[in-house]
Point group: C2
Chain length 320, copies 2
Amino acid sequence: MPQPERKLIERIQRLTSRRAPGFIIRGIGDDCAILRVATGHHLLITTDLSIEGVHFRRKWHPAESVGHRCLARGLSDIAAMGGEPLACFLSLGLPASLNQAWVEGFVRGFERLAQRFRVALAGGDTSAALRITADIVVAGQIPAGQAVLRSGARPGDRIYVTGELGASAAALKRLFTGQRVKPATAPSHFYPEPRLAVGHWLRKRKMATSMIDLSDGLSVDLRHICDESRVAASIRARAIPVARNATLDLALHGGEDYELLFTARPRAVVPARIAGVKVTEIGGIHARKDYPAAIRLLDENGKARTLEPQGWEHFRERIR
Amino acid sequence: MPQPERKLIERIQRLTSRRAPGFIIRGIGDDCAILRVATGHHLLITTDLSIEGVHFRRKWHPAESVGHRCLARGLSDIAAMGGEPLACFLSLGLPASLNQAWVEGFVRGFERLAQRFRVALAGGDTSAALRITADIVVAGQIPAGQAVLRSGARPGDRIYVTGELGASAAALKRLFTGQRVKPATAPSHFYPEPRLAVGHWLRKRKMATSMIDLSDGLSVDLRHICDESRVAASIRARAIPVARNATLDLALHGGEDYELLFTARPRAVVPARIAGVKVTEIGGIHARKDYPAAIRLLDENGKARTLEPQGWEHFRERIR
């Protein structure tokens, strides 16, 4: 076993032995973890890969940021269902040459976020690998039948987003052009905040008819809602909360904002802030037959054009 | 998105849309999968990485074998708790240069095993990667409080293994020395059989006091039982069911047999075959204070020596 792997396992076991919430009957140390799902609840499971050179670069992202982002991706998926995260599982492939300080930093960033949301590490796997590879699994629970799906949007619904968009992509764009970006100046890229409290608030009040987290970019993720709900959407460029330092284009197509995109019935009174996070109405849902191209953007001059899903993929593919 | 990734997602979605067992409320297509755990049951979760160059080589292992082995690792962990597998999640990192035939083969091998054990694919993630990387997550269930743990062995218990040991390591050894090994001649290496029926049988009758699957090798995995149960063990070399073509050394230290190693009370009547699989008594459990070095091997001449855990790691590290 290469040294980073052995040290990592020891580090992780120390980390998790501190507490074992009631949900976890048995964590690390057996063939499987054993979990208890509360009566009347369903289980949520999500998995997300983070691969060096694809999702992050060691020279751009501090180890703490890589650990944080890895877990944040999973927590954000739980948020997008309106669920409550309970336990996570981390599969880590590490190069033999990796220094121990990097591993410590990764675990620190991961642990800080896990503790804030009271998510216990209940298992995982480690292996040697050519490049750092982290697969995060988050298990959560939700009252049976209450998960907010992508498929619930109906014509007439209004479309909302939390926070501001494009800041993460703006930081990445600067990194690509060779600029240094200090993590403190771009927290939404290096330390994105999973919107668990907002998702939970909306689900509890049955206010969101559909929901998704913005991981691939607004144009792609709104398209997912339209496809799963078999509806179309129109959004107003002027209404989109473009982050400072970002552009409309980055707000529309840049990924990894990890804000929530949701729809609500037209008569629903959606507050301007939920759990301290700004909420902005950006458009409405239409019947698919009225607009087969799915998403229409009303630009700053009020002119309508089709918004093609571009999203994150073309950024991602440049990281190698 | 590189072509293999896009094709893979399409292929996988076709694969899973065919059926959706009652356990799966929502599979692929939303932010999380939603699962229902039966009343009075606990959830089991296990994760296992398979990385090209570490766990398999493309020139040695057909794509079907890689897909089969990937899922078999997870199913074997469920077997070792006495549980019932229900759904799996597959995170796949694929090189952009990978040809479509390989992906098809992988999915075919994976799918065949999944169908045999009625395990549905309920989610996952895909990404570009430098080397093929597969992380398998298997979710299962077990009646609350009935999981067979590693920690239940008591002094006086007898030690048993299923099947025969060392064949997988023997095949790998031949591959390392440059020999060609046809998959049909070494099924336990290329297409290992997760012992789900045996694990279930033992759990239902409360016959096993502790259990683990032999993934790292007998000397390592028996050590896990000893450590978790705070006991010692002695095994008889003559009793170990060494596979044809293997040696005692490979049976003791070679990994990836995916047989079950379990203990039972001395008065338990453990059949010579369970669910069609041979079961062999190989030794007994002792108090740790009587033998602090944990595992004693009585060799062919009846001489006792300490068996150090060596196991699989030193094989694995040679694959690069």
